[in-house]
Structure formats: C-alpha cells, structure tokens
Symmetry: D3
Subunit: 336 residues, 6 copies
C-alpha cells in the first residue's frame, strides 16, 4: 500500500535527496576491481535524458542479487534516493524489480529509454518508401525494394546504425540510409547529366535500390534490443555484407528480376565498404557501386565529426584524438 503513495517520476527530474519510484533501463553491469584489488560492479541506469553510474560493492546488500539476476538491457522499477555526490549523480537503491506488463498502467513504455533520432522514424520511413517508388523505374526491382522495406518495417523503425553506444539511438539506421539515398539521388542526376555517353549508361534504378539496401544485412548482423545491441554469432562469423546479399537474393527468388540487375545490386552491397580490410571482398567495379560507397562514407565520417565536436571534453581549439576518426578536429577559437 505504502508504495502506492510514492509517485513514479522520471530520472531526469529527480532532485538531490529525493526518494521516488522510477522506471529505468539498465545499461551496464561491469565486474571491476579497484587498483588495490577490491571487486565491485559498476551499474548504469538511464532514461531518455539522463544517465547514472555507481558501484555496488561486494559487501552491499544488493551484491548477491546484482551478480545473479540483474541484466543490462532489462527494465526495472527502482525505488531509490537520488544524490548528486562528488562521485557524480548516484542512486541509493531501496527496492528494485524487473518491470511487468501491468506497469504500463503507471506509464511504463519500453521504447522511451533511449536517445532518439532527431527525425521522426515514421516520416523517414515514408520518405524512403517514396524515393524507392519514385526513383526506381525498373518495376521488378522497385517491388523488391518496397517489399523488403515494408516486410521489415517494425525492425527498421527502431534499428540503430551500429552497436557502439553513440550510435545506439532509435531510428539511427533509417537516418543514415535516408541520407545516403538522398545523396545518391543527387549524384545520379548530376553524373548522368555529365556523362550521358557512359557505356553502359548509369542505371539509376540499381543505384537507388543499392543505396536503400546497402546496409540491410544489419537486420541479421545485429541482435537488437533496447540498450544492448549485440552482434549475432552469424554476424561475427559471416558479416552484414554477406548477410545483406543473402536477404536480397532470398527476396529476389521468383520475382523475375533481370539477372544483370540483381548482379549489379548484389555487387553494390558487397563492395560498399570498398577496401577488403573494411570488410568488402570486392572493390566497387561499377559506377553505381562507386557512388553508393562514397555517399555512405561521407555520411558516416560527417556523423563522426559531428559527434567528436559535440562530445569532446578537451579544452582549447582542438579536440583530442579520442574519437572515431582517430584525429584531432578543429573547433575554432573559444568564445570570449
């Protein structure tokens, strides 16, 4: 009864010293040791806008339950006191249990604990579909692409573009693919105009289909679940490049696709990372594959630069080299 009287508040609204019930996504449970050998678990919780991270020491009353039951990626209803300490924001846990269906009545929504793409996934999906329908003039190919998009709608709306944390936002896959596709629409128009005598002529249908499907293998490579996107075993042993080609070949079976078109599409998928050491067994050997590779590469690198500029804590006009580009980025003179 007593527990009823305590309101469920969001982590990001807690104040120092406040005790409340919260719905939280557990994001980390790492077994660590202090330098002088004392073991503890580093536990992380988050909601969409705030993260906390604190130790559960071996002699904590929660130590045993933590070790045996707590699972990163699961959601919990936690009653705790929130404190801003010199160790950063922390929770002093009073009660904890996994969420249950009935928690929905109290406002629990499992999709609300992760950062989101700044763009609406539904709208991005609709825009991608519209491009597919408008730009892919080869009817069988258009159908193939549309059916793959629609058949995987739910997963694609949520999928991140990669497993690393900074990409782990809902809709990341769509955001990236839509961006790559738009660049390809631009480049297709431009270069077809520049080189009308290219032999054979640039195949816009194949190009746009390739842009939309270049990363489709991530559906199989990544085992996605809130807070814990992980590579599948097949993802590690085979890889999204080959898996993406599988998805396309399986979907193409019996559709009467021109074999030449299918071959060029498969080639875009397997060559889109260009270098063998980046995972592509073949380099781009067609104009379509070349354009998809570049559109993909720009988008990834520009995002990395954005993240580096956003997240780097280095003082001064340069970031550190600790970012995904492994180099310093120039931020410019500091505001006075």
């Amino acid at each position: 009864m007593a527990t009823k009287s305590i309101p469920v508040v969001s982590l990001s609204q807690m104040a120092h010293g406040q005790e409340a019930d919260m719905f939280l996504l557990m994001t980390a449970k790492e077994e660590l040791t202090t330098r002088d050998g004392k073991p503890y678990f580093k536990i992380g919780f988050r909601d969409a806008a705030r993260e906390v991270s604190f130790p559960i020491w071996g002699d904590s009353p929660w130590a045993e339950e933590c070790r045996r039951q707590w699972t990163p990626g699961a959601h919990y209803k936690v009653r705790a006191v929130y404190r801003d300490t010199s160790y950063g924001p922390q929770l002093e846990i009073r009660k904890i249990r996994e969420t249950v269906d009935a928690d929905a009545a109290d406002g629990f929504d499992s999709t609300a604990f992760l950062p989101q793409s700044r763009f609406n996934p539904q709208e991005m999906f609709a825009e991608l579909l519209a491009i597919a329908r408008g730009e892919i003039t080869d009817a069988a190919l258009c159908e193939l692409v549309v059916s793959l998009l629609e058949g995987n709608r739910d997963a694609l709306l949520l999928l991140p573009a990669a497993t690393r944390n900074h990409h782990a936002f809902v809709g990341g896959y769509l955001e990236h693919v839509l961006s790559v596709t738009k660049t390809c629409v631009f480049l297709a128009a431009k270069y077809d105009d520049y080189y009308p005598d290219l032999q054979p002529r640039l195949n816009k249908s194949v190009l746009i289909a390739g842009a939309i499907l270049h990363d489709i293998g991530k559906l199989r490579e990544i085992q996605w679940q809130p807070g814990a996107a992980e590579y599948t075993a097949e993802g590690r042993l085979v890889g999204h490049i080959l898996q993406g080609r599988d998805i396309v070949r399986e979907a193409a079976a019996g559709r009467g696709l021109d074999p030449e078109v299918l071959l060029r599409l498969e080639h875009i998928i397997i060559s889109h990372q260009r270098l063998p050491e980046w995972g592509s067994p073949k380099p781009p050997m067609t104009p379509e594959a070349l354009l998809v590779h570049y559109a993909d590469d720009i988008d990834a690198k520009y995002h990395m630069m954005f993240v580096a500029l956003r997240d780097d804590a280095n003082p001064g006009p340069m970031t550190s080299k600790k970012n995904q580009l492994y180099q310093q980025i120039y931020r410019g003179p500091l505001a006075p």
Copy 2:
C-alpha cells in the same frame, strides 16, 4: 577424296617439312604490332604434348578469316606443313576448318588437348568421396558433401584449380582439394589428440567437410572450357568465396542440418584465404577454419615452388623472381 589420303597425325609427332592433317586446339589469338607498327595476329595451337606459336601477318591469305572467325578454345582440323625454324616450330597452314562431330571417327577427342593431372581424376574423385564417407560422422553433413560431389562429378573431374595457364590442367581442382583434405585428416587426428580438452572440441566432421568444399565456388567463378578457363562476370563481381557459400547454403536447404554446423562450415569457406586482401571477409575464427586455411595455403605455395623450379630458365643455382612466389628459389649447385 584427296584429303582422305593424307593421314591425321598428332602435332607432337610431326617432323620438319612434313605435311599432314592434325586435330588442334587453338590456344591463343592475340592482336599485336611489331615495334615499328606492323600489325599481325599471334596464333597458338597445341595438343597434349606440344605447342606452336606463329604470326599471321596482315597480308597473309588467312588474315581475314583469322580476324573474323578463328576462336581460341575451339578445335580445328588443320592441314599444314610443320617447320622447325629459327623462330621456333611453326605451321604453314594449307587448310583449316573447325572440327565437327564426324571427326570422332578419325580419332578426334576434345578432352585430349590439355595437360592432365599426373593422377587419375576418377581415382581422385573416388578417394575424396571415400574420405567424405569415412571421416564425416555427422550424417546430414556427410550427405550434403556427398551429394555436392556427386551432383557436380562431371565438372569436378575436369576443373582446373585456377585460370592461369600453369594451373590449367585437367583435374587440377581435384588434385588440390584431395591434397588439402588429406592434410586436414592428418591435422585433425593430431591436434584432437594434443588438445582433447579444447572447448568446444574440434569438430572433425565440419573440418573435413570444409576441406572438401572450401573451393567449391570455383564451379561458378570459372567458366571452364578447353583451353580457355575464364572468370564469369559473377566470379569477378562477387567471387568464388561467396559463391561457394551460396552453393553450400542452397544445397543445405531442407536437409535438417544443425544450424551451428552449417554456420561453422560457411565460416570455413569464407575465411579460408585468411586475409581480407586475399579475398576473405573474415579471418579464421574457429579451429576448423584455421586448419583448412593452412592446409590450403601450404598446398598452393608448395605447388608454386615446384612450378618455379620446373619452369625457370635462369642459369645458376637460383631461379629468377619471375614466378608466382615473387622471390628467388634455391635450386642447388649445378650438376657437373
């Protein structure tokens, strides 16, 4: 009538100045230019034991027919005078036409124009099948391998291991695969003995199946025909490593194979060349894949060294670097 009276002899038995009818495989038709600009075709013919190569000049009576009709890889009935000249052995062509079915009556056999493996393909095939049946104890996997071998029997008996000339011998594929497989049988026994506590234990069935099937994609990568093995377009754009995995996955459909077994088998195929720059999108990540890679690599390199020692014309104790290993090989002191 008159042509009947001239006997059909084999190229390798012709003497200087002799005129005769021969059945020949055309191995080359190259359009070249002398250094001062005079164009000609360099034409090559061969039977199993001798090759000739000579120019058809632009003003030859055969020039027009040569340019328009002669095709490397086709067989011809040629009447010609054979001459040992200071330019090497040559033919002075009197008559030439493509072979026809009826030529079989005169002894024409289209498989008899290429160098052969020193081992009998039928026997190698039988030995490989026996190993599959004896060593692959996983019944579904054994069936898969046997059915792939038997279903492609005719092609496998003939297939070379690669398209370069020195490997273009009938049965080259079987010779290589059988050798790799035998090494794997040896290594499986030895290392399973050494590391009985490997976790999980070495899967001999998967290992032997992988050894037998590691190059199976060459069935699709190489368009094989006498005298002119060529890469298919799909072979160039996708590659035998991915194509081999396709063949296995297609054959495995509906056989009830353990998915874990299939995954490990696929992984052997795609990782068997180990490095991305050699075409493998993933490195060997299982003990089975590691052993197949090495057994394959030794066999290829040893063959290259054999060929280098056999074919190098460099005088002295070292070969030149112009061989497939791109290095000098030591031949030893010259016999006195």
Copy 3:
C-alpha cells in the same frame, strides 16, 4: 604560287592517297630504337578529331630536321599524302614548316587542336562565378574568390585538370571544379539541415570558397601550353597544394578577411587530398574540409571510371586493370 592551289583541309577529313596542306599540332617526338637496334623518331600529329603516328627513320630526308628542329607542342603547316596502311594512318611528308601569324588568314586557330570539354568554358566560368556570388555570404571572402577567378580568367578557361593525356582537354579544370562545387552546394544544404546544432555551425561561405579554390595551385604547378602541359620545377619541388595556399594568402593580403575564415580556407586547400601519401600534409580537420575532400574524390574517381569504360579495348564484360583506378571495371554483358 603552286602551293596556293592546294587547299588546306583538316586531318580528319583526309582520304587514303589524298595530298593536301594541313595545319597540325605536333603531339609527340620520341627517340626510339627497334628491338634489333635501328633508331627512329616516332612522330605524332593531331587535330581536334584525329591523330596519326608514324616513324621518321634515320635515313629519311627529314631525319636531320626532325632531330634538330621539330618540337612537340608546336603547330605546323604540313603538306603530305595521307595513307591508311597496315601500320595505321600515316603521313608521307612533302613539306613542313611551323605556322606563322599569317596562317590565321587560312583558318589556322591554335586553340582548335585539342579535345575540348563537352561543356562550354565560358558558360562554366559564368556558372562558377554565379555560385560564388550567390553562396558565399561572407562579403570579404566572396570578393577574394571572385577576384581570383576573374584575375585568372584566361588561364582558367583553358587549363586542363591534370597533365596526363586523357585529362588534357581544354576546359578540364573548370569542368572538374564546377562539378566539385555543385556537389558541395548540395552537401552544405543537406548537412546543415541535418546538423543545425553542429558546433561551430557549418560555414557555407568557407566551404564553397574552398570548393572553388581547392585546385587553384594548378595555375602555378602546371606550365600549360597546347599539347604539352608540364609540371614546373616549383610544381615538382613544392606542389600545387602549397602553391594554391600561396595564391590565396597573397590575394587575401590587405582585404580585411577574418583570420579565422582565412585559416579554415587554407586548411581546405592543404587537406583536400586527405592522406599524406597523396600530398596533403594535414588530413581534413574541419567539416568544410571533409566535404571538399569527398566532393573532389568522387568527381575524380567517377571520371576515371568513365574513361576506363570508354577507352578500354579488352574484350568481354570486364575491362583490364590498365586504367587509372588500377582495377577491373564491369562493363556488363556484351550486346548480342
């Protein structure tokens, strides 16, 4: 008098056996030796649409004059018999002299002997200027760019993008720079839209100025003259990347440009080839530099692929590897 009666015709209109006067650009004079040691000069002439190449032997009546006076890159009035021989199209020279100003009266125009960009240089120049004026909102920077364009107008209208023959077409520089700039206009709009919170925000003025000026150093690196673009000594010892920065710094002196803007612009120029082994002492460290690099790289590689598909003589669905991308390109199945 007699010479007046022979008409001046263009090389591309000559028929076998015809004798005529032609205005020609000498494109090659190479001192060679046949394999058995006989020396000769290989001479090339061209007009905008046809090339001829033939030997001048050591015992030719032209041998002495050829050796001492003929100069590749110079224009000649040549009276010759044109012949289609088995050695290709050739000229049998009767008279030859360098062109003189008076030849203009007979239709000689020194700019008409080289392949031209398919686009009109005047229009491309105007378009580039319009983009500079429309997109560079920083007034001082806009003025700098416009003044550099206008101040080098004549050279830029003619300059090729590089010295290799296949790029040696009039207007090649403008064609490439305009294409890069348009891609940057597109990418600037798109990514500024995607990342309005980039810190600091994408500087479109700097980006477009960088796109327009990234190769400006070629004005000093390449000594350009019809038929014989050559690197200057300074081009070899210092390079167009540093020279381009010099041009910009010299032009910027006294214009009151924001030093931060100038620094970012210089950085685009010196980093636009990204890797040190490609000539860039620094990698792109700003979002603007990153985008210019990619827009430049796509345009160069796409052009190389176009040229490879256009020029490759390899039969079959794949080109050879002898192109600027050092890889095979897929041409597709041959037309039936």
Copy 4:
C-alpha cells in the same frame, strides 16, 4: 621447535583461515602506485596448481625486506594465514625465508612449482630422438642432430617454448618441436609422393633435421630459470634465429657434413619465421624451408587459439580480442 609442529602443506590445499608452512615460488614483485599515489608492492606466489597475488603496503612490517631482498624466481618457505577475501585469495605472512638445501627433507622440489606440459618430457625427448634416428638418412646429419639433442638434454627437458607466462610450462619447447617435426614427417611423405620429379628432389633428411633444430637458438636466447624465463642480452641484440644457426655451425665443425646440406639446414633455421618483420632475414627459398615454416606456424597459431578459448573470460559466444591472435574466436552457443 614450535615451527616443527606446523605441517608443510601445499598452497592449493589451504583452506580459508588456515595457518601453515608452505614452499612457494615467488612469481612477481611489482612496484605500483594506487591511483591516488599510495605506493605498494604487488607480490605473487604460486605452486603448480594455485596462484595468489596481494599487496605489501608501504607501512607493512614486511615492506623493507620485500623491497630489499625478495626476488621473483626464488623459492621461499612461508608461514602464513590463507584467506579468501573479496580481493581474491591472499596470504597474511607470518614468517618467510628463502629455501635451503635442507628443505628437501621436508619435501621441497624446485621443479614442482610450474605448470607442466601434459605430455611427459622424457617420453617426448625419446620420441624426438627416435624420429631423428629413423628419418634422417644422411648419416653425418643424423649424428649432428642426435648429438645436439643429447648434449642439451637437461635444458631441453625443461625449456618453455617462449617467455610469456602462458607458455611458461615445463616441457613447452619439446611439445612444440615434437609437434612440428611430426607434421613435417607427414608432409615430407605426402609431397615427395606428389612431386617425385621435384628438381632437386625433396631432401627429407634436411627437412626433418630442420624441423627438430629450427628453434634450437632458444637455448641461448632465453635465460631460463623457474618462474622467470628472460631474454639474454645476446638474445635481444642478436636473436634466437641467428643464435640457432651458430649452434648448428659450431656443432657441425669437423663432422664432414656436406656443405650443401649444412647450407640448406642453416637456411631453414634463419627463414622459419618467413617474414623479415617476424625476425627472418630471408624468406624460405627451398621446399624444405617452406614446409618447416608452415608446420611451425600452424602449431603456434593452433596453440594460441586453444589458449584463447581456454582462458577468455568474455561472456557470450565470442571471445574478446585480448589474446595472442588479436582477434575474436568463436566459442559456439552457450550450453543451456
């Protein structure tokens, strides 16, 4: 007297809270500092089956003696209380002194503190000797190999294959060399059978001698003592590859060995790591050297994979990349 009454027990049999005398090998004494600057020594002790590691703080009564006298690699008689703490198993030392000869009476045996090869060194040595005698048909060479083995018997029985801890097991050298030699016996038979026309024919005597002696330089490269195998200065400055060749040349002096045989044997030793960056000044340039290289490489890599699978603590189906192969290994699905 009192000390007599406390039994000497092995570390691996101690229970929580028990006080006893133990014979222990000191395996580590590292001077460290906690993150906030407090200095301590991290001390390790082990017997064949258990290791303990704990700090001696700067204010410990043992601090001074620890700093000045304790030596990794030495054996100690230690009286201590054993405790399983949240910091792992620890010892609270009561008394400690280096072992003396008289301790043998109480069961002290200095060879019993390290992990052992799973195979009996005596038997491995005998088997290697038998192979040498059976397979090396060149009498002078056989004698050379046998004399080197027998002359270094004691050292070879103990030598590890390398200095890193995980290889620091008694008999590791013999285990590796025997495995390599057996693979070479197999490959020699197989490839001599495949290529009876190799010119010159495969020299099995040289091959087997090379397999047995390829790592013999480790006798000089590694200063081996229980718990602390270390590279000698000459090992660092010259390396086991050159030192191994020295050993063979010194032993060959005056034996009437065929110089050609000696040269091929030296070449196997110096080329067995194949690449210059792995320490081989020359690549394998003979068939014998090629086979020894591969047999050695397989054995090392397979062992690394075994160790990675055995020791990796990463949860899930893949190991981490923190192993000697610097890559993930697939462990397979977790048992239910």
Copy 5:
C-alpha cells in the same frame, strides 16, 4: 609582517617537515577520478631541479580556488610544509598567490623554473650566427638568414625543440639546430670533396641556410610560455613545415634573392622530414635537402636514445619499449 619573517627558499632545498615560502611554477592541473569514482585535482609544481605532484581532494579547503583560478604555466608564491611521504614528496599548502612584479625583489626570476640546455643559449646563438656568416657565401642569402636569426633572437634563445615535456628545456631549439648545422658543415665539405663533378655542384650556401632554417616554422607552430608550450591552431591546421616556408618567403620578399636559390631553400624546409606520413609533402629531391634531412634525423634519434637510456626505470640490461623510439635500447651489463 609575519610573512616577512619566513624566508623564501627553493623547493629543491626544502627538508621534510620544513615550512617556508617558495616561488614555484605550476606545471600540471589535471582533473581526475579515483577508480571508485572520487574526483580530485592532480597538481604539479616545480623549480629548475625538483618536481612535486599531489592531489587536491574535492573536500580540501583549496578545492574551489584550485578549480577556478589556478593555471598551469603561471608562477605562484606558495607557503607550504614540505613532506616526504609514502606517496612521494608533497606540499601541504598554507598560503598561495600568483607572483607579482614586486617579487623580483625577493629573487623571483621567471626564467629559472625550467630545465635548461646544458649549453649557454647566448653562446649557441653566437656560434650559429658565426657559421651563417662564415659558410653562406651567397650574400643575399646570408643576409636573409642573419636577419631571420637576429630578428627572432629573443624567442630563439628560449624556444624548446618540441612540446613534449622531456624536450621542454630552455634553449632546446638552438641546441638541436646548431647540432644539425654543424653536421651539415662537415658533410658539405666531405661530399663536395668526394663528388666535385656533381651536376650541379653542391650548393653549400643553400645547404647551410637550410640547416639553420629547417625548423624555423616552430616560431609560429608553438605557442611557447614557461611550462606550457602548446601548438597554435594554425600549427595544427597548417603545420610548422609550411609555416617555416612562409617565414622564409616573407623575409625574402624584396631582397633580390636568386629565385633558384630561394626555391632550393624552400624545398629543404618542406622536405626535411622526408616521408609524407611524417609531414613532408615532398621527399628530398636535391642533394642539399637530402643532407639536411639526415643531419636532422640523426640528431633527433640520438637525443631520443640518450633520453631513453637516462630515464628508463626498467631493471636489467635492456630498457623497456616505452620511449620515443618505441623499441628496447641496450644499456649493457649492470655494474656489479
């Protein structure tokens, strides 16, 4: 008044437990966290001969002032108790303020807090100037060099050769440049003697000028101030190699220097690090540039080896690999 009675002593003369006033350079203020999450500042102070480093904890009375005001690179008058603790030498601060001009009266000298070159900067400067005047026989070039040296005298007397701490000694730039120049004087004499027929002959004036000016760009690349040499933004985005060429070109304007001489001098500067990945956009393409590169490279590497041998704490005859050469150095057998 009371503070007057406490003497100002140097840090290096303090004894355990002594309290005194000191003038100190703050060398570090790093925000860190203990492994279990407790935040603190790691503060460093030094004078020319001793360094101390200790934590200011979050709950220290100095915490707030430390966070907000203390600045590495600034000088402070500090009253503190000095203690040799198990955490190393530490200060317990009683009073602290930035130094003021009036402190000079008490002996404060801001140049006295950093390690110094072992050679007198004034003398090195004079020696360099003398070499310039004696060896550069091209008058205009000699003037250019002398004017650049004299015009930057004050900065050059202090400048370190690089920003990393171990090079951060007063006069480091001069020490390095003088050494490089002397080697070039030697090599110039020797090789001009060896190859008097070099075409064109070695230009000693250019060579010596290049040696003296090769690193002159560091004047702009490094923002130098006591204890905190930092790269400028332009240093990061453009680099000292290009900046050095700028300095020379700006200084050369209007001096009537032979353009060929200036070009060769610029080339020395931009090529002196030889490889593009080390920052040189062009490799040395003249004999003068080749010699400056080597003289520079030897001097840098020899210094690194000296520092590695001086600073490495690894016991035994080899240093660790943690030095600027990333390799072990041989120290020799330990003294008995």
Copy 6:
C-alpha cells in the same frame, strides 16, 4: 705473321672503318628474340672507357661459336672493324680468341677493363688502416680489425660495393667504407662531446670498428670477378649481414676480446640496415649501431643521387624516376 703487323689498339681509340686487334672484356651475352620471333645474341664488349653492343644473328658465321663458347666476364683478343652506325657503335668481327698469358707481352692487363674508383685503392686502404690504428683504443679490438683488413687486403682493394653495374667499379667497397668511417669519426667526437653523461658512455672503439666492418660480409656474399660480380648461393640463402658477423666471430676466437665489446660489434653489423625488410633482423639498439646505420645510409643515398644526376637522360629540370631512389631529382634550370 700477317696478324703481327696489325697493331693492338684500345677500343676507345678506334675510328670509323678502322680494322685492328683489341683486348676486350665481354660484358654481356643475352639470348633475345625480335618482336616477330627472330632469335639473336646481344653481345657486349668494353674497355675502361668505351662500351659497344651489337647483335650476332642466328645466321652469322659466329653464331655457333657465340652460343657454345663465348662467356661474359672473359677477356678476348678480337680483330674487328669498328663502325659508327645508326644502330650505335658496332664491331664487325674478323677473328676472336680468349686471351692467353702471353698477351701480357702485348700490353694485356686484366684489371684495366673496368671503371675505377676516382680514389687510389692503395691510399684508401692505408687511410682506413690508419683510422683503425688511431681511433680504436681497445687494443684487442684494434688488432682484430687490423688483422681482418690486412688478411683480406687483395680482395678489398678490388671489391665493388654491390653487384649492380653502376657500382661495379674497382675499389667501390673501399670508397664506401672509408666514407662511412670518416663520418663516424666526426659523429663520435661530436656526440660524445654533446652527451658526456650518456650511460654507458659512447664506445668509440666499437663504433669505429663497426663502421669499418659493417659490410665485411660482402667478401662472402659476392663472388667477384671482372665484369661479373655475382651473389654466391650462401649470399642468397644467408646474406652478407649474417656472413659478416660470422667473419668477425671466427676472427675473434681466441683473441681475448671482451665479450661485451664483441656483442656490441656483432650488433652493429646485423642492425646496420635498420629495418627488417632491408635485411636487418634487429634494429639498432645501441648508440654505436645507430650512428653506423645513419653514416651508411647517407653515403649510399648520396651516391645514388649523384649517379641519378649523372646518368639520367631525361630532358628538362627534373630527372625521371628510373633511378635507385625511385623518385625524381631536381637538376635545376638548364644552362642557356
């Protein structure tokens, strides 16, 4: 008798059309084929100042004797007509026989057919010996070096530094080694002066001994004979670096050399090419080895640059890339 009346003249003094007897070194006999298949031998002869090269066609009266008996590296007495033809200078052979001892009476001297070092070998040898005696203060080491020099005096006076033609000049080895040694004498003095506190102090004796002996292995690596320096089999399979160390170790046996000194000397030899891919199994790990490496590297590269500038036939201010540095060299503006 008649032959007596024809004078023996040197090749370099022959005039067009002159017939005479000459003593000649045969430098080349290459079996070649014209592009259209006609076989011939390309024969080269030289004396110290002129070379000729011409074909012996298959139908020449000398063809048979040429094929079977003529040997590059042998000396011949040749009676021939000398002609300057459009194919270059040629000989029309009338008589030819190998030289015999009695030819000395007519002025034949077998050492007079090759280019010579510009310095006198005897004087260089004396200078090297003097340096050894003056700079190597370690008596045992000095004796070792002197005895190796004196014991190989005759070979060292003649040995080239490498086998490629441009280095094949008499005394090349001495010229290179003396130059390296002098640089080391300079660097030793300078750096010992700079770093008197190097620990351990720079060992000048070892350094100079290493400079003198760093290439001593070439005595065994190269089979030297006039006009045909060739690598020995051991040179190919083992290499001069290891062979040089052998020579030193063999010579050191029994001399009572300090083992530490010998080890440092061996290390200089095996590390002097620094990188494993250049043949050094270990990088320089001592100050002495570092200095010898650099002194050697400068000398080799400077020589290559000299040769490139001397021999390159490319017109214009840059050489081609076809030289041993694989890069363009700047020659400067052409003389007017």
